[in-house]
């Protein structure tokens, strides 16, 4: 197990190198960035001044050299300063990270406490009116564009009823309710469907029939026998939606003017700030991959089958070759 976790963490290194290279290279190609501004500034200078300016920014060197310098700084925890504001990017990121975490966890708690009971209810009464109503609502929830839902929530609850503030995070607990509600909707829809289909699969399993045949009361059948097995994919679903929320916070944070890392990323790309964009995307990617790793580890802990499978594969691996890195559970990509 430790070996597996270590391998997964080591795998982060090539991921970070490649991700940062892709983003760094793409942003250098983007028109209208700081590099163009420097070159434009250099146009009107004396030859000596121009040369000095260009050398100062390493513009006489190949891109790979600038990338190397960037990565060396990154190793020392230095993500550079913003091209426009001159603020330190690491500090900016760390200041904004708690806001995103609070929002994501609140949405997660709301989402899990609504979707799991709904999914179980739908599966137990499969084919009934309750099931159909839940199915229709979760389909609609999946089809809602979150930015639109956010605007409607603001229109109703902030502008018309004035129950909640219209954005930002300076109103304590009242300011988190609307954004958390908005970002939990997509998750509720997905997790309800996931819970329902897992529960259905488990309810049809032979060991449940055995339990009933033994005379176990229906409540205990659901609670002890069914739920224990239906949990596993639900945990993955919740974990992946946490990862998705961390990554996809861009939209909700922009609509609700929530000062988190998603909005920071959107602002950085919009301002064509090369350093800030590269920095915030690298950090978000690390966070995203770490969350997925935690989900995978939890998955192994909850499901004894996977654990034993893993232990067997290690035993085999000692004879053959090291275990391959299992990618996150299928469907784990987010938008």
């Amino acid at each position: 197990m430790i070996r597996y976790v270590l391998m997964r963490i080591l795998w982060l290194i090539p991921v970070i190198i490649l991700v940062s290279f892709i983003v760094f290279a793409l942003m250098e190609l983007a028109p209208g960035t700081i590099l163009d501004a420097i070159l434009a500034q250099a146009e009107g200078m004396t030859p000596e001044g121009r040369e000095q300016l260009i050398r100062q920014h390493n513009l006489d060197r190949p891109m790979i050299y600038r990338y190397g310098v960037y990565m060396l700084n990154l190793l020392q925890g230095d993500l550079g300063v913003s091209d426009h504001t001159g603020l330190d990017i690491w500090t900016m990121f760390i200041n904004r990270l708690p806001n995103t975490l609070i929002l994501s966890f609140t949405a997660l708690v709301i989402g899990a406490s609504v979707s799991i009971p709904l999914g179980i209810a739908a599966a137990r009464k499969a084919g009934s009116i309750t099931d159909n109503v839940i199915a229709v609502f979760s389909l609609i929830g999946m089809s809602l564009p979150l930015f639109w839902l956010g605007i409607l929530l603001l229109l109703l609850f902030a502008q018309q009823l004035a129950w909640f503030p219209a954005g930002g995070n300076n109103h304590g607990i009242r300011s988190i309710i609307l954004p958390a509600l908005c970002s939990s909707v997509g998750m509720i829809a997905m997790t309800t469907r996931q819970t329902r289909s897992n529960m259905l699969e488990v309810l049809r399993a032979d060991y449940l029939r055995t339990a009933r045949a033994k005379g176990v009361p229906e409540e205990a059948v659901i609670r002890k026998h069914a739920l224990g097995n239906a949990w596993i994919p639900v945990i993955t679903a919740i974990g992946t939606s946490l990862a998705a929320q961390l990554a996809g916070s861009v939209v909700v944070e922009t609509v609700f003017a929530w000062p988190g890392i998603g909005r920071m990323a959107a602002e950085a790309v919009m301002a064509r700030d090369v350093t800030a964009t590269t920095g915030v995307i690298i950090m978000t990617t690390i966070l995203y991959v770490l969350v997925q790793l935690v989900v995978d580890i939890m998955y192994a802990f909850v499901d004894p089958r996977i654990k034993s499978q893993y232990i067997n594969s290690v035993k085999k691996a000692k004879r053959k070759k090291p275990p391959t890195l299992a990618p996150a559970a299928a469907g784990g990509t987010s938008k």
Binding site: P145, L146, F147, L155, V289, S334
Partner: protein, 303 residues
């Protein structure tokens, strides 16, 4: 009365029985099961309405949706302007109907790109295995670990704002899902006897992949494609909303919502109607996608 009913039932099962033993293509099979799925049929009806809107939009001139008309600024929904008018007095109904083409183009275009990259790379990874598999999968993992919307934003920034670039950006970021799905599906097919037979006969590997292996492992990919259409439209309209989509005068739904955001207090209709259209389009694709999934699921098939 009961006689008549019995007669009907008998003929119906007769048809079913004869149909059951007639050989159907895979696509024909899917449509056969979709006919019995109420959700899929509802999705089909909504989708037909959207197609009607698209066909109607072909008769709308570009001037009709871009000309500024001061006298009808912020006109409320009325007989003259069914959905009202926006901050520049442009008729919102015409703009929203015209916007249908963008969402359909983005949805189908981007999914086509994702699926093409995913299916080709995934088939190679799955069929050849070994080094090729390792390299392709690791690259796909790297692409998948960059959050999709951020990657889309960066790609659009680099390539410039246009419909084509938005489609390409969304298409590239979506590819890893299809890749993983295709690879997993190919892995289950490639060790079958018929593949071995094809190899023994001496058919080239590429031809085996595209004529023997891929057609037999395609159903999970079809499910992913139909399920992906809705998500793709949401992602693309989110990018447009954030300002990384189709440039301004084009009435892409996400962009119309973004433009109407400032005026929600006095003119909520500007944001409301395009949102309903996004939702209905995505809902149609999701309903249809669920139907296709159930049709291809061997566990649910014969019920």
């Amino acid at each position: 009365m009961s006689n008549k009913n019995n007669g009907n039932r008998a003929t119906k099962t007769d048809i079913l029985v004869t149909k059951k033993y007639r050989k159907r293509s895979q696509i024909g099979d899917i449509f056969h099961y979709l006919k019995f799925n109420k959700g899929a049929m509802a999705g089909f009806v909504i989708f037909s309405l959207i197609i009607v809107a698209f066909l109607g939009s072909l008769f709308i001139s570009w001037d009709a949706i871009t000309d500024i008309n001061v006298s009808s600024r912020f006109a409320r929904p009325s007989a003259q302007h069914i959905f009202g008018a926006d901050n520049m007095g442009r008729d919102l109904f015409l703009r929203v109907i015209y916007g249908t083409r963008y969402s359909l183009a983005i949805g189908f275009g981007a999914v086509l790109i994702s699926a093409f990259i995913g299916v080709v790379a995934g088939s190679f990874a799955g069929y050849y295995g070994g080094k090729a598999d390792d390299i392709i999968m690791r690259l796909s993992d790297v692409l998948a670990s960059i959050p999709g919307i951020l990657m889309g934003m960066v790609i659009v920034t680099v390539m410039g704002q246009s419909l084509i670039n938005l489609i390409v950006a969304v298409g590239i970021t979506g590819a890893p899902v299809y890749l993983r799905m295709t690879r997993a599906s190919i892995l289950t097919v490639r060790n079958n006897e018929f593949v071995e037979a094809a190899k023994a006969v001496g058919i080239a590997n590429l031809r085996i992949i595209f004529t023997q292996v891929l057609p037999n492992g395609l159903s999970p990919v079809i499910v992913t494609v139909t399920a992906g259409l809705g998500i793709t439209i949401i992602v693309a309209s989110s990018l447009s909303f954030l300002g990384f989509g189709v440039p301004v005068p084009h009435p892409e739904w996400g962009a119309v919502i973004a433009a109407g955001r400032e005026y929600t207090r006095n003119a909520p209709w500007i944001t409301t109607f395009p949102g309903i259209f996004i939702m209905m389009t995505v809902l149609a694709f999701n309903l249809f996608g669920d139907g296709v999934r159930d049709a291809l699921d061997p566990k649910l098939k014969r019920r």
